[in-house]
Amino acid sequence: MQDTFPLKTPTQTRMSGAGMALRRFYSDLRREPLGHAGFIVIMILILAAVFAPLLAPYPAARQSLGEALQSPSAQHWLGTDEFGRDILSRLIWGAQITMRTVLSVSAIVGPVGLMIGITAGYFGGRTDAILMRFTDVVLSFPSLVLALAFAAALGAGLNTAIIAISLTAWPPIARLARAEALVVRNTDYVAAARIYGASHLRLLLLYIAPMCVPSVVVRLTLNMATITLTAASLGFLGLGAQPPMPEWGAMISAGRRFMLDQWWVAVMPGFAILITSLAFNVLGDAMRDILDPRHTRG
């Protein structure tokens, strides 16, 4: 049994305890009423996105010019737009686009930020200096304007928007992961693994990265609020998902023409954006309070 690794890797321990940890996390979350509400809202949005075909009273693109610009009623709870499309249905379908954007950006930005951060924190010295300088430079860019310019150059569309947002959204994650890695790399079990001859890559991926994941997830959750807002801004400016896709920001933009008389066309989608981003914010706040009790509410 010479080649068995004498220590259980943290990933394994983590996996076995993951179910329990999640359950404990959820019971902690239930004690934070705001955070819990945020969690429920996010769950509802995900369900709405997944089951949009079943939930939405009308197809997103069903036009009925005879019913154009109707105010909210029993038939159309949130009214109809200029093509007579049901706004509620479009919002439900639009949840798909929002969730897809948010999750795609997070899926890009989380791992990228994490890897850059822990690499800098773990190796320190020159690697750290270079990576962090690069991070700081990107951090110093105005992200929305840069995303706009990128989207303009690459051509409008949902995928461009996702890339453009990702380009500027990773630095905060990297900084956070670096700070965590600086602490973790000096712990006993990393030292022990090092003594047993674990390679750099193994240490980074199996020992350091898992320890940094919880705070990265918290940060990502808070970021999701910003991503929702940036994506909606791009949509509003015509650089995100293109019509007739029911993107919330684009719906506001289209409804703007009627805002003084048929206010609901532009106003209703805004509530969807506000509630989504609010939910991510309160959930993120609550997660931070739970995972890091030292951090008092700022």
């Binding site: 706009l148 303009a152 400016l237 506000l274």
Partner: protein, 344 residues
């Protein structure tokens, strides 16, 4: 190296200056990439689709697109240094001339917004901290949470619907009513100042009624941030022994606040002032669309939609430059304003 002899603060300062220089260079490189390398047809983007083949070829040569990339970059730099930002296909004028008109409009809007957000945000944050866990604190928390989560362009629309269309207490889109348009000679480019300079009080008040709504809507997100940060800074101070010592001397709440806590958080407040100012410039981009405000944001988005890359790149550059400079100033504020980092 002589840098070894520098003290901690001096070295940090030098590091920050270097960082700033690198950021500016990166900004230039990124705008170059966006304007010249990414678009599939940068020439067409500049001259427009209807340009004659000769004009097309001339522009291609003028841009130096037949040259190697490095050389293109050098000439891009040279043009920048000479203040040559190219022509805007959209307006048919040099981009620089367009910016001279658009920038003051944005600056005016963002400046008023930062003033509003500070006047409301700082006292609210202080009140929340001094009354921690009371209803004041809860209200402040809700206000700032919503402010962090609200889409600013949508908030602008709601504002227009409520205050302009329904209540009719605010001016509508634009900087002044149509019949006042173009009446004051532009001096600073900021209509509030120009109208006063020209002695046109009627126009001034009309302009106030127009700017107050976009500025307030824009201010809200910044105010949310300022409230949250002020509260956090103040709570941190309230736990300090010097506050107990001041109370032991017999100082009351008001005195503690004005004479002890505020001087301690001034530098931090200046820092977030600069950061939020940068954020506001960005927020202005989308707010301007809603309010038909003829600033950088509207200029940039109109250019975006027709692919006028010269204009887009120039706007990115200007906003990026402001943003970076403000962040830079906020970082070095510590070095100049805090007695602790001074002579000691």
């Amino acid at each position: 190296m002589s840098s070894d002899t520098l003290g901690g603060p001096a070295r940090a300062f030098a590091g920050r200056v270097l960082q700033f220089a690198i950021s500016i260079f990166a900004l230039i490189a990124v705008t170059f990439t966006i304007g010249r390398l990414l678009p599939t047809d940068p020439v067409g983007a500049i001259v427009g689709e209807l340009a004659s083949p000769e004009a097309y070829a001339a522009m291609r040569e003028r841009l130096g697109l037949d040259q190697p990339v490095i050389w293109q970059f050098v000439s891009y730099l040279r043009d920048l240094v000479h203040g040559d930002l190219g022509f805007a296909a959209m307006t048919g004028r040099p981009v620089l001339d367009d910016l001279k008109i658009a920038f003051p409009a944005t600056l005016e809007l963002a400046t008023l917004a930062i003033i509003i957000s500070f006047i409301l945000g700082v006292p609210l944050g202080l009140a929340a901290a001094f009354n921690r866990d009371t209803w004041i604190d809860h209200i402040a928390r809700i206000i700032s949470l919503v402010g962090h989560s609200i889409p600013v362009f949508w908030f602008g629309i709601v504002g227009l619907v409520v205050f302009y269309a329904w209540l009719q207490i605010a001016g509508g889109p634009g900087r002044v009513d149509v019949f006042y348009e173009g009446l004051v000679p532009p001096v600073t480019g900021m209509i509030l100042i120009d109208s006063l300079l020209a002695g046109e009080t009627a126009i001034f008040w009309n302009a106030v009624s127009h700017i107050i709504l976009p500025a307030s809507m824009l201010a809200y997100a910044a105010m949310a941030y300022i409230t949250r940060m002020t509260r956090a800074f103040t709570l941190e101070q309230l736990n300090q022994d010097y506050v107990v010592a001041a109370r032991a001397k017999g100082a009351g709440q008001a005195r503690i606040l004005m004479h002890h806590i505020l001087p301690n958080i001034t530098v931090q407040l200046v820092t977030i002032l600069a950061i939020s100012y940068g954020g506001l410039l960005e927020g202005a981009v989308v707010t301007e669309i809603v309010f038909s405000w003829p600033g950088l944001g509207q200029y940039m988005t109109s250019a975006l939609l027709i692919g006028d890359m010269n204009a887009v790149v120039a706007c990115t550059m200007v906003i990026g430059l402001m943003f970076m400079t403000l962040n830079f100033l906020s970082d070095i504020a510590y070095a100049f304003l805090d007695p602790r980092t001074g002579e000691g």
